[in-house]
Amino acid sequence: MTSRPSHIGANVARVEDDRLLSGGARFVADVSLPGMLEAAFYRSPLPHALIEAVDTDEALQVSGVAGAFTAEDMTDVSPFPDFDQRARPVAIFPLARDKVRYVGAPIAVVVAPDRYEAEDARDLLTVDLEPLDPVVSVDEALAADAPLLFGEWPDNIVIEAPVANPEAMAEFEGRVTVSGRYEVGRHAGVPMETRGVAAEYRDGRLTVWTSTQFPHIARTMLSYCLPLDETDIRVIAPDVGGGFGVKAEFYPEEVTIPWLAMRLGRPVRWIEDRREHLIAACHARDLVLDLEAAVDGDGRFRAVRGMAIQDLGSAEMYPYGFSPAFTAVGHITGPYRIPHQSVGVIAVATNKTPCGAYRGFGIPEAAFAMERLMDKAADHLGIDRRQIRRRNLIGPDDLPYTTSAGAIVDSGSHREAFEETVRLTSERLDRWRARLADDPHVRLGSGVVNYIEGVTPTYYFTSGHWTSFDSCTIRMNPDGTALVSVGVSTSGQGLESMLTSLAAEALGVRRDQVRVVMGDTDRTPYGLGSWGSRSTNVASGALREASSLLLEKATRIAAHLMEASPDDIEVYGGRFNVRGSPGMSVTWQQVATTANIRTIDLPEDVKPGLEAAATYDPPGIEHNPDQYGRLNSSATYTNASHGAVVSVDVGTGKVRVLDYIVGHDCGTVINPQIVRGQVVGGIAQGIGGALLEKLHYDEWGNPLSTSFLDYHLPTTTEIPNMVVRHFESPAPAMPWGAKGAGEAGIIGPAPAIAAAIEEALSDLGVAEITRTPITAPDVLSLVFSGGGQEHPG
């Protein structure tokens, strides 16, 4: 090809910014239709109870109230189908039937002209609940006499998948072993926009606006639950104010609100409030990795074994909440040459909000456990913590490398990124040592960790139903502009911009000639949505395929118009140029006008129209594990090294992250600014999870983190500036060599910060950090564990 300017690797302005900056965006809460009603849910105040009766009479007396409904009214609604053969079936019904299993479970819904009046009426509902003993922890759930969440089961185990790999077990004979139990606390994605659903039923068609990451899956699920054909349902994901996995679940309210619109014959809207969000949108993590490693005397890890133990909450979540535990196991060895593993999974139901997806999806948990274990092994063997990593990291000669979990790491800069991150971290630490030398209250430390992230994964493992493909159609309008529609959808990552650039690149047109459409099942081809750092890979694959089909036809038309051979045509600058004949060219507009309007000018064997559709199923993905749980779950694997520099106030236990360094490799970088934004934003969430965020429960199963006063998101003052170094190891099998970057940032902070805190306090001989979040009181306890504090101050 010629050396024309490329859109790849350029920082180009985002096409979505103008509407978002001016107040012109349209989120679900902005959807307003004539006669629209608003809904308010009555949610269970008890963690575990039988529903005896719901009295709606008084509520219905409130003027304007359009209705109050319970599960008994939803006779024409089916529960979510169950697809998974591995786990015990959990029937999810849009409003709770008979029993509630967490505080926040929807029991009834009231509909009124606005939210104020809906809440007035809700205040008048009377609900008879018969309390049952709650189960609030894994230990309680597994106790012999534990109350059962699901009466038809013999225990509270949702899924148990033990692994006993003899090759791994053999490595433990005669070797040093280190072990630990590493717990990543319950927290969640908590986007700034809560969930929300609006629905309208007219002319026998249902239109649903929902703040979702997967509109097509939502439509299919709706067709399973409601008595409607898929063609009579249109799901629109308008501007979505952050997803982070929380909106890659299909929720009961996404059925209830459309059902209400059908039942009442009026549009209905429900906007989740923040309290609802913190108790009824999915929670995440709450995973313990109980691990043991067999290690050679020089620090080389030979095998790891153990269990991933997950507190699933009530398990009433689809796609399944236990998938992150399996993903954690699939990533447990990280970028290290650890030949064997034998790690199983057990996930149990408790009377807490059901767990689901959150950015990172098990990989942050895996990285926390493995990196902590690596630090522990280093300390135990008297090896420097950086050095032990060098001895275990896979290098260029190892690639492609198949991990003990079955992941095929085809490319990467594992050692290079690590060394650069180590160098920069030390430099920064030294700088802070000089700057804070006079501060008597703080001690400084640093930690450097590594991980790999499988991106563009199988969905079969998570959903039991869908697999991994996505699609794209491109329609060239007569004026030479392109309408590109895709099955993925954005929740703020900048996908519109990314795909605009890729379409411009593939079609040889200007960016302003491209319009990307997503998030509307009527206007886009079937796709699985945006999660798992997949969108760039799958959408670009489908887009490239559709582009090449389109170009083939357009080239023939252009050649015909210029009476040249199609083999001599090159496309760039919005034109079809004849190689070797400068000045001889036709524009996309001429070609598209010919194809769509002046079809009399078409070659004889070319049919009218200029539109192409393609699907893309990333190669190499396996959907089912072998007997030891191994599979190549993802299309490709990114790598990164993270370095944290922290100060620890030994008087108060307060930790400040002073500097954060990342060596990041997601293959070819399409838009550096957007990739940096993804990485930095992910790190900020990771810092939140490491130091601040936890969804607390009391011993009775009451949620204690039900507002932003108790659930602390990091603010500008907790997040440092970051140093991001991009490494580019293109993925051999992926379009443009790109690897997804959506989730990577969140994986490193917890282990990096834990290591940094330990280093800061190392001369006090403190205990090991094994849990997140690491709060100020936790750190102070550590200080005391080392006897570092005889008197306050």
Binding site: Y42, R43, P45, L46, P47, H48, A49, E52, V103, R115, Y116, E119, D120, R122, D123, L124, L125, T126, V127, D128, L129, E130, P131, L132, D133, P134, P147, D273, R274, R275, H441, G651, T652, G653, K654, L692, K694, H696, D698, W700, N702, P703, L704, S705, T706, L709, D710, H712, P714, T715, T717, E718, T775, A776, P777, L780, H791, P792, G793
Partner: protein, 308 residues
């Protein structure tokens, strides 16, 4: 929110209305915006306990949104001119009930004569809260983790309460009775807080909060004067966030009074402060033990700052 069984899992009475705090829009109420204090007091008296004063609303409106407060009437004092005074009169700083935190924070008179107030205000919420929130409202709200009540206590401010029946002056140490509970009667409102002023006083606020702008897990508001001989006098220290009300540390103050501040003395007062702190606040952010310990650390740092 919240259900706690008397014995685990068994609770008497299972017929539940909508539990509190699940709403986000205020319940219906009537609203008045009179021009005179007398009118305000008349309405308070008429609705005896069922009317609430609305000043900045930064604490009250969240409570209304959650329907944790369901007053029949809100009386907005925004138009009451006599509640807008911010002035120094005979050595006393008088802050009226309608004066915003932002106004006080920006006052150079306050910075000069009542520096503890100026130092404490940046810790109160965020700028958007202080633009509307009032100093007096924060004191009347008596959140145990808030800075303003502790400042009032440390400065031995005088609370001026009014009702249709007349005026009461309540010393700060008799005003705060517990979490969100004060000596105000249902038909009374806090119309003014009077802070003693001093040109010589040094002041400090030290606190631990999970993030900036958060309510403190523990904090200290302090003032003292250092004599020419380098000794401390007029020491006052008040803890907040540690227990149900702000608390003066009289023993610590006594230990410091008349002393030259040395490292040894600071060690002693820190230990004493930790020991004497009535730490009974426990929540998801910290237990009582942490709060007690950190109280000592923060007292030490506050005194260091004031004598540096």
């Amino acid at each position: 929110m919240g259900w706690r069984g008397d014995e685990r899992g068994r609770k008497c009475g299972s017929r539940v209305r909508n539990p509190d705090d699940v709403s986000v829009k205020p319940p219906p109420f009537k609203y008045a915006r009179p021009e005179s204090l007398d009118e305000v007091l008349r309405i308070l008296s008429e609705y005896n306990g069922e009317a609430r004063v609305l000043a900045g609303g930064q604490s009250l409106i969240p409570l209304l949104n959650f329907r944790l407060a369901r007053p029949q009437v809100l009386v907005d004092i925004a138009l009451v001119r006599e509640l807008r005074q911010l002035e120094v009169e005979r050595g006393v700083l008088r802050v009226g009930a309608a004066v915003t935190q932002n106004t006080v924070e920006r006052s150079s008179d306050v910075a000069r004569l009542c520096p503890l107030l100026t130092k404490a205000l940046p810790f109160v919420g965020h700028v958007q809260n202080r633009v509307r929130g009032t100093v007096v409202g924060s004191i009347a709200h008596a959140d145990p983790a808030a800075e303003m009540p502790a400042v009032a206590l440390a400065l031995q401010a005088t609370m001026v309460a009014r009702s249709a029946a007349g005026v009461r002056k309540i010393p700060a140490d008799q005003f705060f009775l517990g979490p969100f509970t004060t000596a105000l009667k249902p038909d009374e409102m806090l119309v003014e807080v009077r802070f003693p002023t001093s040109r010589k006083t040094r002041a400090a606020v030290t606190e631990v909060a999970p993030r900036s702008g958060d309510f403190a897990v523990a904090g200290v508001a302090g003032k003292l004067v250092t004599t020419r001989a380098g000794k401390a006098r007029d020491v006052a220290l008040a803890l907040f966030g540690v227990g149900g009300s702000p608390q003066r540390l009289h023993d610590v103050e006594a230990r410091l009074a008349g002393q030259r501040i040395t490292g040894d003395l600071l060690d002693q007062v820190a230990a004493l402060a930790s020991h004497n702190a009535r730490a009974d606040s426990e929540d998801v952010h910290a237990d009582a033990g942490y709060r007690a310990h950190v109280s000592g650390v923060l007292v030490r740092r506050a005194v260091e700052e004031m004598t540096r």
